[in-house]
Symmetry: C2
Subunit: 398 residues, 2 copies
């Protein structure tokens, strides 16, 4: 049979992370690789009560086809919880915030359109944009966020700049207030639209992050949010807030993609969120993740050989580390897995030239005890790899 695949299908690749996760699914492996929220944080009894109530009181509507825009009370709750004035009519409920990325690409990206991303950036966004065949351009970034000079140099003709200002995936870094203000002003001056992805913003440890970029210029930004990190990923619910000029096209793309997100799940989440539930629940997630971040920082301090660097994320799920010069995280991985610990090599997150020394460590899935054991094992693997690289290569091949 003559199946001819689309050109874009050739450009699509399996998620490196999911491939790595398969390798590391051996029993007993301590994984810092996945971006899986701790299941301890899932409010199961609240979901049980919500399921029961929704099916009992509103079962027919919850199980029927529904509006592509989303469940009206949930759209109102989303608008009310955001820190700038949002009309519920601007809120579109999506099947996870991943779907928001697919819809954005569908309505804004032609083949060859320039799309700017941070260095490094969220791999899932690169995958979501790929079917629209963009020309993805990586903008230099530092600990404060994106490099504005480089952004300016690359902005011409770009359809948008995709950015995660809070506790970024993969680096865990947060864009400073000064950089946000400057970026917002610069984007307005350049006429450069921004797609702001904020799945982790609520997971701050000591203080909330600065205001979103979208709050500073709602007409110039599309904002993506998620319930995956504050409630549970398995319901696949996220949302986007779009300027009114773009909303109708996003809605049409949404309708064509899956008609609407599950109305049952939307009602469950709306029910759970009533009466300020998140105000009580999210602090427990913050406290747990902060403890685990602290455990990882302490273990890194305790075990890592000289030359290994890492940052101190102020929230979120990930920490970013860098191996000593001459080492390569992808080569390290099999050795680490042999010692019972897994991570994601940083190269997977670069749209352009990768820094092969980087790696992403998630501190949310493993317990404190596992973090201690796992980081010690990782440090051993690094020392071993470091010795191996120091030997003449002929020795290794004999």
């Amino acid at each position: 049979m003559q199946w001819t695949q689309a050109r874009r299908a050739q450009k699509m690749n399996p998620s490196v992370i999911r491939e790595i996760l398969k390798v590391t699914e051996k029993p007993g492996i301590i994984s810092f690789a996945g971006g899986l929220p701790s299941p301890k944080t899932f409010p199961i009894s609240a979901f049980q009560a919500a399921c029961d109530k929704v099916l009992r009181e509103d079962g027919h509507a919850a199980l029927q086809y529904a509006a592509s825009e989303g469940f009206a009370p949930l759209r109102e709750q989303v608008a009310a919880m955001l820190p700038w004035p949002v009309d519920p009519a601007q809120v579109l409920i999506t099947t996870g915030s991943q779907q928001g990325l697919d819809l954005v690409a569908k309505i804004l990206v032609d083949e060859g359109s320039r799309v700017l991303v941070e260095t490094p950036t969220y791999l899932g966004a690169l995958q979501a944009f790929t079917p629209a065949e963009p020309d993805i351009v990586s903008v230099a970034s530092d600990d404060q966020g994106v490099d504005l000079d480089d952004l300016r140099a690359k902005a011409e003709g770009a359809r948008f700049f995709y950015v995660l200002p809070n506790f970024q995936n993969p680096t865990g870094r947060t864009m400073s207030e000064a950089r946000r203000a400057a970026l917002s002003a610069e984007a307005t001056r350049l006429g450069l639209p921004i797609v702001e992805d904020n799945p982790y913003g609520d997971l701050w440890f000591d203080q909330p992050p600065p205001l979103p970029l979208t709050a500073r210029n709602p007409e110039g930004c599309i904002y993506l949010g998620s319930f995956s990190k504050v409630l549970a990923p398995g319901l696949r619910l996220g949302f986007m807030v779009a300027p009114k000029s773009l909303y109708p096209k996003l809605l049409q793309a949404k309708q064509a993609a899956d008609l609407h997100s599950p109305g049952f799940n939307q009602r469950m989440v709306a029910e759970v969120m009533k009466d300020g539930f998140l105000d009580r629940h999210v602090p427990t997630i913050r406290a747990l993740y902060k403890t685990q971040r602290d455990a990882m920082l302490a273990a890194l301090q305790r075990h890592m050989p000289e030359g290994v660097q890492w940052n101190t994320p102020a929230g979120g799920m990930f920490l970013w580390a860098r191996l000593p010069e001459g080492m390569n995280a992808a080569q390290l991985l099999p050795r680490a897995v042999e010692r019972g610990v897994a991570f994601v090599p940083g190269w997977a997150f670069y749209a352009g030239q990768a820094d092969a020394r980087t790696l992403r460590l998630s501190f949310v899935t493993a317990s404190v005890a596992q973090i201690n054991t796992g980081i010690a094992a990782l440090a051993d693997a690094i020392r071993e790899q470091s010795l191996a690289s120091a030997l003449p290569s002929t020795v290794e091949s004999t």
Copy 2:
């Protein structure tokens, strides 16, 4: 702000049906317009028991991120219930079967690729294919299914032929066994892939429809199925069965689109379907819809003026009617709505030249009493419109 929309966004249009549904959402309107399953058929207590069990016994996994392929036991159940040998590894769980259409277009359609569809065809498929910018070509069809001479004439270079052989949306017609056999042979000879959409196949009234096209040539077909009509649409779960050569690309497209369909919902459905639930439940849906189809046929017979034609669907949700020569279903609609009844004008379902006299009537949402009242009102509207069209147009404009 300079938002530049993608070329494909210009080609996207709001669903005519959803626009019509908005107009017809006045209280008291009897709607034959929507394709909404009767909520009476939703097995609410089975879902209650399933929710409770899933959250109690498997809550952490149900609420966590999961494999893009879908929940393994559900994939096995799908493979086992299909009437040809299917390896669960070929089953991909989708966010409604609508998502299957989006994924198919993503991996098989380039800008300008020829895609063949029936005349008329499912509007949602046209919308799902549009973002990939295909050249959609309408193949002539009759009561037995697609016209093979016309298919042959148009097949060259086509990426696939999209077809709904069972109780088609919008016409309610079923492709005969002879036509299926001939189509399958012809498609193989032409090397023409088939995308077979079968959301309604289980809703037969007197006898099951002939074997799916995919069963006759699994390597040459992608098969789309849905839980929306046999369980409930509000969970947004469907599935596709793909040849092993295409599966990896479909999976990558799925991953990029929404990571995975909600694991909680997949477990609910898997739990509900245990122990042959569908074998007991689906016959009750068939019986209800058959009663309602019979009521609609009888009411049409009783009320319709001469010259109005309609078919007798052997299953599914829709009946297809045609107004007398010179009349136009789109012009009839406002008059019908005034009289308290709604339908979808047939032109919405044509990829090419439309037959303006056609209309789609759903017999599943309204009760028997509503069907009787609604069809009588529709007949009155047709008589009134017929009189108005018979008058010289100058009279109408004064």
